[in-house]
């Protein structure tokens, strides 16, 4: 693409950043970020090697036991950071390998498109070698012959940094044939996408990787049984893979202690926050840190706004209330409150924000990004948008809210081909539960005058 002429607008250029200075980050407490530089430049190979880089690969290959890598991941209980929270060790133990089974693929899900999420970008732009190191370990454990980083097309800077880092790693013998003299072969290519949120769903991602439309596939078979080109394939999120090297180097017990007893889940998490807060940003914190601490690190709400509600981990998670700020943000605790940890990046809603308008915005996203395969999602979500638009304009009809309840229920877990529709239903159902009166206010009272303008039936 064309380059801009440099000038004043460089000050408006977006740069991914971590809001913790180097002095606060240490190898034994911040496995994901301790190597990051205060100047925000990428950690290239020399620097990375000086900071223990690729030591976990050396260790695992010297040990020569791929099953031991899986056992460590299981014992550490590393849970998927792409939003689902599935145990990575368990997933890896189910990948078909051995006997007649051909070697498969390791796919890094770098499609980061969940509204409110900006964590994988930081890891890729500033520390590409940690991801590569994690992928080598993943490939070794799962007997993958080749790896793909499925990167969303808009992440131009991530692509540039990753490709340079892959060249460095290849040249230094960390990728390619006979890695570090171990006899293990593995290489990685960056595959860039061309838009569409649904590509992040792991089976849609595999279709997209194969050069097809990104409709999800039926499960089973799971990717670990039959994925890309019918071969056993492992799909993991960027942050998940970045957790692997430290687990292998320092052990599962150490990993468990990182969360300091806040939760049964071990490790740290890249938590973040956005919306109208004073300092939106990202921090690496113990798993199970509370929403209150994250909001405090962000300097609280902008101006003298109050917090009305928040999403704990992206648009497809359920709304929580200010009273939930004291909860440890881990997969199980947030799940028990009728929401999901999701990606762990909070979105805050200020007191003056109409929940009806915000829901309309969220559902426009889900309706537009539906892949169109199943009816409740393809036809139900645009209908939800129209109902919300009407309520937003004070043009709702009696029964509209009940209809929203029904359309959301039709999108519930297990009723559609993939988790996109349940993701659209969860924020709607929780908004209707906590803020029903706001939706009711949008219903036209008998005898009241109709709105002058027609209901906008926007493109969805």
């Amino acid at each position: 693409m064309r380059q801009a002429i440099p000038g004043q607008r460089d000050s408006r250029r977006y740069r991914s950043r971590l809001l913790q200075p180097e002095a606060e980050r240490h190898a034994d407490t911040h496995p994901l970020t301790w190597r990051l530089r205060d100047d925000g430049e990428a950690v290239w190979l020399d620097d990375y090697l000086r900071k223990d880089g690729y030591q976990s690969v050396r260790k695992a290959l010297d040990d020569g036991d791929p099953q031991a890598v899986i056992a460590s991941m299981k014992a550490a209980n590393v849970r998927g950071r792409g939003g689902g929270g599935f145990s990575t060790g368990l997933k890896w133990s189910l990948t078909l390998q051995g006997g007649e089974m051909p070697r498969g693929y390791l796919v890094c899900n770098a499609d980061e498109m969940e509204p409110g999420t900006f964590k994988d970008r930081l890891l890729m732009e500033q520390q590409p070698h940690l991801l590569i190191e994690g992928m080598i370990l993943g490939a070794y454990a799962n007997n993958s012959c080749y790896g793909y980083i499925f990167l969303r097309g808009e992440y131009v800077e991530s692509a540039r940094v990753l490709n340079l880092a892959l060249d460095e790693a290849r040249e230094a013998g960390w990728l390619g044939a006979d890695i570090n003299g171990s006899g293990f072969d593995f290489d990685i290519a960056v595959h860039t996408g061309a838009g569409r949120y649904i590509c992040g769903e792991e089976t849609a991602l595999i279709n997209s990787l194969e050069g097809k439309r990104a409709n999800p596939r039926a499960k089973p078979p799971f990717p670990g049984q039959s994925g890309a080109w019918g071969k056993p394939s492992v799909v993991n999120n960027v942050e998940t893979l970045c957790n692997v090297p430290a687990v292998i180097l320092n052990g599962a017990d150490w990993y468990q202690t990182l969360s300091g007893g806040r939760t049964d889940d071990g490790g740290t998490k890249l938590y973040g926050i956005s919306g109208p807060v004073e300092n939106p940003g990202l921090w690496e914190l113990p798993m199970g840190t509370t929403g209150a601490e994250i909001l405090e690190r962000a300097g609280g709400m902008c101006g003298n706004r109050q917090l009305k509600a928040w999403l704990p981990g992206g648009a497809s998670t359920g709304f929580l209330l200010p009273e939930h700020l004291q909860l440890p943000l881990d997969f199980d605790t947030v799940g028990k409150e009728g929401s999901r940890l999701g990606t762990g990046l909070l979105t805050v809603v200020p007191d003056h924000q109409s929940m009806v308008a915000l829901m309309r915005n969220l559902e426009e996203f889900f309706a537009r990004e539906s892949c169109g395969w199943c009816t409740p999602c393809r036809d139900g979500l645009p209908w939800v948008v129209k109902l919300l638009q009407a309520l937003e304009w004070g043009e709702g009809e009696e029964g509209d809210i009940e209809l929203l309840d029904k359309l959301a229920a039709d999108c519930g877990p297990g009723l559609t081909f993939c988790a996109h529709a349940p993701g659209a239903a969860m924020p709607l159902q929780t908004a209707l539960k906590h803020f029903r009166h706001e939706f009711e206010q949008g219903v036209r009272k008998p005898g009241s005058k109709a709105h002058q303008d027609p209901i906008p039936v926007g493109e969805v």
Binding site: R121, G153, G195, G275, P280, A315, N361, E369
Partner: protein, 170 residues
């Protein structure tokens, strides 16, 4: 991995010329995958980088290089939002309309874009300079509201920043 076939030098119908360098780039991409079809999205992007968009004739030409049917290529081309099947301006403005931007001033930014460019979503300015499109969360929510112009991401962007930003894209 697929073996790398020789350049075909094929010319699409209606005189559309696949640039030899582009065809070579497609063949190189194909080598990264077990099946040539996997290079389809990249092939579309290669054409788009040169022409700004993907004309019908390019679909046929790509299909020949990949050795698959034009319908498969067209199916892919119409699925993905960053593949343009109509001409676009010299610069594409992608404005994020997702939740964090919505909560931090997207409406105002969008209004300012519409009034300063004189176009709405999907339209191109009369001088063929800009096309305006919405995009999902750009993963720049700590810099919301955010937008992209071509390959450059900006945020936070206020309505007042726009004249200066747009000026950089003649």
């Amino acid at each position: 991995m697929a073996t790398t076939p020789q350049t075909t030098g094929l010319i699409g119908s209606d005189g559309f010329h696949l640039h030899p360098a582009d065809e070579a780039a497609m063949l190189e991409e194909m080598a990264h995958y077990e099946q040539p079809q996997a290079a389809c999205i990249e092939a579309l992007k290669i054409v788009q980088r040169r022409h700004g968009w993907v004309p019908d004739e390019a679909i046929v030409a790509i299909a020949r290089v990949l050795g698959i049917g034009p319908a498969a290529v067209e199916g892919v081309a119409t699925f993905y939002s960053l593949i343009f099947r109509q001409p676009v301006g010299r610069h594409v403005v992608l404005v994020c309309d997702s939740s964090s931007c919505f909560l931090t001033g997207f409406d105002e930014l969008k209004r300012a874009l519409v009034s300063q460019l004189g176009i709405d979503y999907g339209q191109t300015t009369d001088d063929d300079r800009f096309t305006l499109l919405p995009v999902c969360c750009l993963g720049a929510c700590d810099g919301a509201p955010a937008l992209m112009i071509d390959a450059d991401t900006y945020g936070p962007v206020s309505a007042g920043d726009l004249p200066d930003l747009l000026e950089g894209y003649p």
